[in-house]
């Protein structure tokens, strides 16, 4: 344990101490198969770290102010994936566009919170705690976990370090580090099990180091079936939690596997990093969005009819006007994507004005807590007020 407690989760330390105690193998999650009410729904939260540029994700191409603000950023009309109402998806998102056409993707526009903060850490704290005025030390889904008894298997993450949003006051979700678990030459499951055997009297640190070998032996049979990227991917961006997450498609493949096994887990946290594109952002963002698109579209198709709802958010959007480096600086409101069973597709919420700005930034039109409240109530069957400090607003878009 660390010797100091920090006001926020700037360091995941307070949180990760709990997380380390509950790092599980996928098999331990799969062991809960059949433990749940088959009518219970599943929430998959996708965090885009770095501040995804919302205006170049859902593009208000028909507004002349858009091209004026971002002369070098605009796409050609024929590249855009039209959504109607003068808005279109980034050309990197054909899979989501198809889901939109099928009425399965909801685009909630202008999502944000009062007095926006432009620090990555602070704003991510705000989104993850759902406490804009004063982020505390618990995440919103961690508080939900507290309210349902605190079994860590109910809320899991495939990132190597537990994201703050899964940390509650009395309990915390579990990390199930997946990723590329192809074993190196000569390393056999038997060897891992041997080194993973507990020894009486060793220090907690040493015991944990050994237990990781046992965990590794347990998860590898699952991972072997997932597609594996080349090792040492130098471009894998670190997330704000301090660890490089496995590729999003692998994280989602693990979620799908668990959902198909009807495990007890109700909440999954997955992530994609690298969206902080202050310079030369257009092509890089399209590439990243294409990764998101491919993974999400495949996942949505695979999960059809299984009661799964996916929500995609980032800590903030980018400023309306491009900067001098062909990038965009930290901004405010941004669209959220919602998709899955029970979600009514289409354009929701109001698009923020591109000209009536707050110090160069979009004014939010939907408070993110309204979206959280809907997810808590409609997907998790919880009382939103209890989890969201008495928040009363609720967006309604379940069909």
């Amino acid at each position: 344990m660390d010797t100091i407690t920090r006001r926020r989760f700037l360091v995941a330390s307070g949180v990760t101490a709990a997380a380390a105690a509950t790092t599980l193998g996928v098999r331990e999650i799969l062991a809960t198969a059949g433990d749940r009410d088959t009518a219970a729904k599943t929430l998959v939260l996708v965090t885009l770290y770095g501040g995804n540029d919302g205006l170049n994700t859902v593009i208000p191409y028909a507004d002349p102010a858009y091209a004026t603000a971002r002369p070098d950023f605009a796409y050609q009309p024929e590249e855009l994936l039209d959504l109607g109402e003068g808005e279109a998806l980034n050309p990197g998102l054909p899979g989501l566009h198809k889901l939109f056409g099928e009425g399965r993707l909801a685009v909630v526009r202008g999502v944000g919170y009062p007095k926006p903060n432009r620090s990555h850490f602070r704003s991510m704290d705000i989104w993850q705690t759902a406490q804009p005025s004063r982020p505390g030390t618990t995440g919103w889904l961690g508080r939900w976990l507290d309210s349902v008894g605190g079994d860590p298997r109910l809320a899991i993450s495939f990132e190597p370090v537990l994201p703050p949003l899964l940390a509650g006051a009395t309990s915390a979700g579990a990390t199930v580090p997946g990723g590329d678990l192809k074993l190196p030459a000569g390393v056999t499951p038997g060897l891992l099990a041997g080194i993973g055997a507990p020894v009486a009297g060793e220090s907690p640190a040493l015991a944990r180091a050994a237990a990781c070998f046992a965990d590794l032996g347990r998860v590898r049979d699952l991972i072997a079936s997932a597609p594996l990227d080349d090792e040492d991917d130098a471009e894998t961006p670190a997330t704000a939690t301090g660890g490089a997450a496995p590729p999003l498609d692998q994280q989602l493949a693990l979620v799908a596997r668990c959902v198909e096994a009807n495990v007890a887990t109700r909440v999954y946290s997955v992530s994609l990093g690298g969206f902080d594109l202050h310079a030369d952002g257009k092509d890089a963002q399209r590439t990243l969005l294409a990764k998101l698109d491919k993974a999400l579209a495949a996942f949505a198709t695979r999960m059809t009819g299984k009661g799964v709802v996916v929500a995609v958010y980032s800590e903030f959007g980018r400023r309306v006007r491009a900067n001098a480096s062909d990038g965009t600086d930290h901004g405010t409101a941004s669209p959220m994507f919602l998709l899955g069973d029970g979600i009514e597709g289409g354009l929701h919420g109001e698009s923020p004005s591109l000209t009536d700005l707050d110090d160069g930034d979009l004014k939010f039109t939907t408070d993110f807590r309204d979206v959280y409240a809907m997810l808590l109530s409609d997907v998790l069957g919880a009382d939103p007020g209890q989890v969201l400090d008495g928040w009363r607003g609720r967006m309604d878009l379940a069909g």
Partner: protein
């Protein structure tokens, strides 16, 4: 605990992982003399040649070229620093690394190898002494000012970011100051601006709030009096000791050691009665794990960056101002797998002639400065005949993941 084990423990904690020869020499010299030698201040190293700070570009192509040059210069600095860590036989670079994680500043926002190097040299210059001069120097450190928006802290619109983190994360800890103290501290720090062209921080009088402010039970008028007031707070010394103990001592509460400067505090930590019992209770940070391995195998730190990236700890790029996680956070199945893979890469470049005999598990323990293998690890090692795979497994083993 035998003398050899005790002195090995000291070396593992104060340096980046001792070689077998260093352990032998330290055993001959004795614990106290070794402690003295490790903590004897070192001369400031000759900085690497980073080339000129790139001038801001006008066109898009020029700006891209500037970005590229910045990235290359930062890569040069990281490689130089990793090389220093490998070469250093004292406690100096480990302490520099400690301060880097403490005043965690990321090149991702600072985007200048020159400024990151400047901050690092400040750690080397002031990091061994009393904390007052260190805090004074850090408050005017250009990289820290840019990182925590000191640049935007003006008389008309004070920005509290730097003032808050200074008290919360760097000097006092939560609960030792109030929100009013944060606001007042911000006012004392207004007007300090970094000139990107010269890389220097200076006080811009018209942006500075020259009125004296009340905080933490005192009155301060400027940066230096603010720094001095902070380090005089009752909470400051226990806070620093707590941070040092968490990295050099053990996971539990810190003992009540005192000392007038950081060197004295480290000495007190390493001679406190509970220190010996902390062996094997701390998790190595990825940089500590990798640099230790490179030193013990007699390698150069080539190819270190992809390994450190995969393990989640790139020097000069802490994930946030709170620094890197500590302890069990580093122990995950994914990091275990990465250590297994990285172990094989390192072993492929190492001389393994000494790891073929019947005593090869003992030879491996000596090579890696591991006190002993647990029965389970010993069994796995004994079953591994190939010397390179043996070495790789030793590097990845639970016993080598902690210190």
């Amino acid at each position: 605990m035998t003398d050899r084990r005790l002195v090995t423990h000291l070396l593992r904690r104060l340096t980046f992982g001792p070689t077998a020869a260093e352990v032998d020499a330290a055993v001959r010299a004795g614990y106290d003399a070794t402690l003295e030698r490790l903590l004897t201040p070192a001369a400031l190293p000759q900085p690497p040649d980073l080339g000129a700070q790139p001038a801001p570009g006008d066109s898009r192509a020029e700006r891209q070229a500037v970005r590229k040059q910045q990235r290359e210069q930062l890569a040069t600095l990281v490689r130089w620093w990793l090389g220093r860590m490998v070469a250093d036989r004292t406690a100096a670079e480990k302490l520099t690394f400690f301060w880097h994680g403490h005043w965690a500043t990321s090149a991702q926002k600072v985007r200048s190898a020159h400024l990151m190097l400047g901050q690092q040299q400040t750690f080397r210059r002031y990091g061994t002494g009393p904390t007052g001069p260190l805090v004074r120097a850090m408050l005017r450190d250009p990289a820290l000012i840019l990182w925590l928006d000191g640049q935007k802290n003006t008389r008309k619109a004070p920005n509290e970011n730097l003032s808050r983190e200074v008290m919360e994360l760097f000097t006092l800890g939560v609960g030792a100051y109030s929100e009013d103290d944060v606001k007042a501290g911000a006012r004392a720090l207004t007007g300090w601006q970094v000139d990107r062209a010269t890389g220097r921080a200076r006080l811009v009088a018209r942006r500075h709030d020259s009125q004296a402010v009340e905080l933490l039970g005192g009155t301060v008028g400027d940066l230096d009096s603010y720094a001095d007031l902070i380090v005089r707070q009752e909470a400051h010394l226990p806070f620093v000791v707590g941070r040092l103990w968490a990295r050099y001592g053990g996971p539990g509460p810190a003992p009540a050691v005192t000392g007038r400067d950081t060197t004295a505090l480290l000495k007190a930590i390493c001679t406190t009665p509970g220190f010996a019992a902390t062996a094997g209770t701390l998790v190595k940070q990825p940089v500590e794990w990798l640099i230790g391995a490179v030193r013990q195998l007699g390698l150069e730190p080539d190819g270190a960056e992809p390994i450190l990236r995969a393990l989640g700890q790139m020097p000069l790029r802490p994930p946030s101002v709170g620094g890197w996680p500590e302890g069990a956070a580093w122990l995950t199945t994914s990091s275990t797998l990465t250590r297994l893979r990285a172990g094989q890469k390192l072993a492929a470049r190492a001389d393994v002639d000494g790891l073929t005999g019947s005593d090869r598990t003992q030879a491996l323990a000596t090579l890696l400065a591991v006190d002993s293998w647990s029965d389970r690890t010993h069994a796995a090692l004994t079953a591994t005949k190939d010397p390179r795979r043996l070495l790789a497994l030793g590097l990845a083993s639970p016993e080598y993941a902690v210190h």
